[in-house]
């Protein structure tokens, strides 16, 4: 039993994170043409509206919720000191979870039922969406069945995750958790593991820099200030405005 636990809560996380980092960096640097959100809106737009909007707003907010709970658990605990605020947090998180769940069911249904979308569906899309579906389902189950997650996450899960990142894995508390919660953790790392092999890489390149770059973009193949200066020695450098 210990062996299995060690595998799932120590080995798997490390494998997942290593594969994630190396895989995404390699893909970003070397397989650029294949790096895309692979939008299928052009082929089908009505069903995508209900699928993509519900799913993304739900999952993105849930994602950041997990991130905050992991990075600054104290903030959540502080917030949760008053029961009312705890309820607000839990209920809104649950709502976003439901949104993501319904959205994903729509997306998966669209992928499988529309002939056009099937043409642009590969096996990794299906694997990913099924894994995500399981993961969100488990998450909702945990939230409903083992209250109040937002509080015990900060006490149990955050230290565990931190211990992984400091290379001193402390897994005893995790071993004690109910099976559903353990499954939720395992599926989470599985999803991280397969990110480089799926379209999920698209959320790593969220175009935030668009907000501060100037609207127009001009690229010179040659350094227009340098070309005419025949006196200067030839230096190996790329034009700056490139």
């Amino acid at each position: 039993m210990d062996l299995l636990n060690n595998f799932f809560f120590i080995a798997l996380p490390y494998i997942a994170i290593i594969v994630f980092v190396i895989g995404t960096v390699y893909r970003y640097r070397s397989l650029k043409f294949g790096y895309s959100s692979l939008s299928s809106q052009f082929l089908e737009t009505r069903k995508l509206f209900w699928g993509s909007l519900l799913f993304h707003w739900g999952i993105v907010i849930i994602f950041f919720g997990h991130l905050i709970a992991f990075l600054i658990p104290q903030s959540i605990l502080l917030w949760n000191q008053q029961p009312l605020r705890l309820f607000i947090l839990e209920i809104s998180a649950f709502t976003f979870g439901i949104m993501a769940f319904i959205g994903l069911i729509n997306l998966l249904y669209r992928r499988l039922s529309s002939a056009r979308i099937r043409v642009v569906t590969n096996y990794m899309d299906i694997i990913l969406e099924i894994l995500l579906l399981i993961q969100i389902f488990l998450g909702l189950w945990v939230a409903y069945g083992y209250r109040w997650g937002s509080s015990w996450f900060a006490i149990v899960i955050s230290p565990y995750l931190k211990s992984l990142f400091t290379f001193t894995p402390k897994v005893d508390a995790v071993f004690m958790l109910p099976l559903v919660v353990q499954l939720h953790i395992i599926t989470g790392f599985l999803i991280i593991l397969i990110v480089p092999f799926t379209r999920l890489v698209h959320f790593l390149v969220f175009p935030l820099s668009y907000l501060w770059r100037p609207y127009q973009k001009v690229i010179w193949n040659r350094d227009r200030k340098k070309i005419r200066n025949a006196k200067e020695a030839w230096t190996v450098h790329r034009p700056e405005n490139n």
Binding site: S39, L48, S52, L211, I227, R238
Partner: protein
Amino acid sequence: MDVRSQVAMLFHLDKCIGCHTCSIACKNIWTDRKGAEYMWWNNVETKPGTGFPTKWEDQNIYKGGWKKSDDQKLSLRGSGKYKGLLNIFHNPYMPSLEDYYEPWTYKYLDLIESPKGNDQPTARPVSLITGKPIDIKSGPNWDDDLSGTPEFARRDPNLEHLSPSEKEAMFQLEKMAMFYLPRICNHCLNPACVASCPSGAIYKRGEDGVVLINQQVCRAWRMCVTACPYKKSYYNWSTGKSEKCILCYPRLEAGLAPACMHSCVGRIRYLGVLLYDADRIQEAASAPEDELIDRQLELILDPFDENVIQKAKDNGIADSTIQAAQTSPVYKFVKEWGLGLPLHAEYRTLPMLFYIPSLLPVMATLSDADNSAQSGKLDPIAKFWNKNTLYDTSTNSLWGTIEQSRFPLKYLANMFGAGNESKIKEVLKKQLAVRVHRRNVTVGDINSEFSQKALSDVGLTSKMADDIFYLTSLAKFDDRFNIPPAHREQAIEMLENTGDAKGSSGFGFKESPTRGL
């Protein structure tokens, strides 16, 4: 003054015969691939008509281009930093396949391999996307030559602001007229596609102003499809990348004309360098609507001006480019003669493709036949509609023919004048004056006083008129295309070691350009 050079285009609509050779040349070279079947980087539309994609000019639907807000600032109509990022999960203004058409082929083999039977075998159409049999609902040039039909012509967005009677007059059987509108990417000075791209994949090349999409940076956020008011950025559904006209830049760099221009049967296309002042782009793009065209033309600099030449050289523009700007046919048409107008300047992207609006359907009027000596000299077919009606292309009532045209000027103004009729009138008058002048020279039945007056009325000299005539009607290949090849001797300054790309395929992909996981 920040002098830059732009490879600009001019299309002479009076010469377009609507043969679609340009479209085919382009398709065969660039878009005969999976995912690109439906794309027409170059297409030719019948006007009045709905165009491709359907009703692309209706920005209430597609939200393309720039709009000026109350504080006089420009913003993208349907995308941009905030709207774009908020709509990134689902873009509500993006045209979908239905707005273009579902590409298809036929199962030709069935014609040969069907078993013997009582019916003649047929080749069924099958979708090029799903491979399944489809009912064809529309296709490329679906409205070709269908001007006058309620389905297409009457839904033309340019008919807006025309009175009902004007519209009716356009569609009367005997008065119906149409012309062709060939379109490619305008390689704008203030491109909305570039501005809308969240990942910064789209850029304008400094050297020649060609607007390109970096296929390795595009992430299919698909905002450019919305932002381009001309709908000339297309989404490749197979690779998950957007694509657009590249002005055949590999050909341009070698000094060759782009495929669509080279193959143009009517020889309507001209290509040449323009020098412009990049510092004033924003100012010109945010001008009041009735000044837009003038301000855009003011950006284009005189390539003979010493100061301009010096500033161009300071900016690294090669001598050959400056020379090309001095002999540019586009400069002549657009600046010297004032004949070229941008399409839909009101989108504020400052397009660098100019059009000379059609004169023919405007110029001819139907009136009661008269028997003057002059009409006796005309070719009888050209002259008489029927016994009592004259199909009048004669010139006695000089500008009157333009005023009572078969096409309301308003219609042309909505396309080429940002709604401003006087712009159109000016160009049509000039064209008419050149005809009068040439008729005086060749046929001689118009007295020279009359033709001189026609010319001076519109500010042309007979020398200019002859030049316009030459470049319009007789120009040879090298007159129409004046392209300075890229300077390969400077390639060393690009400092991309050729060895780096050795072993990679033609356009530098080390991976094959196929859809990712």
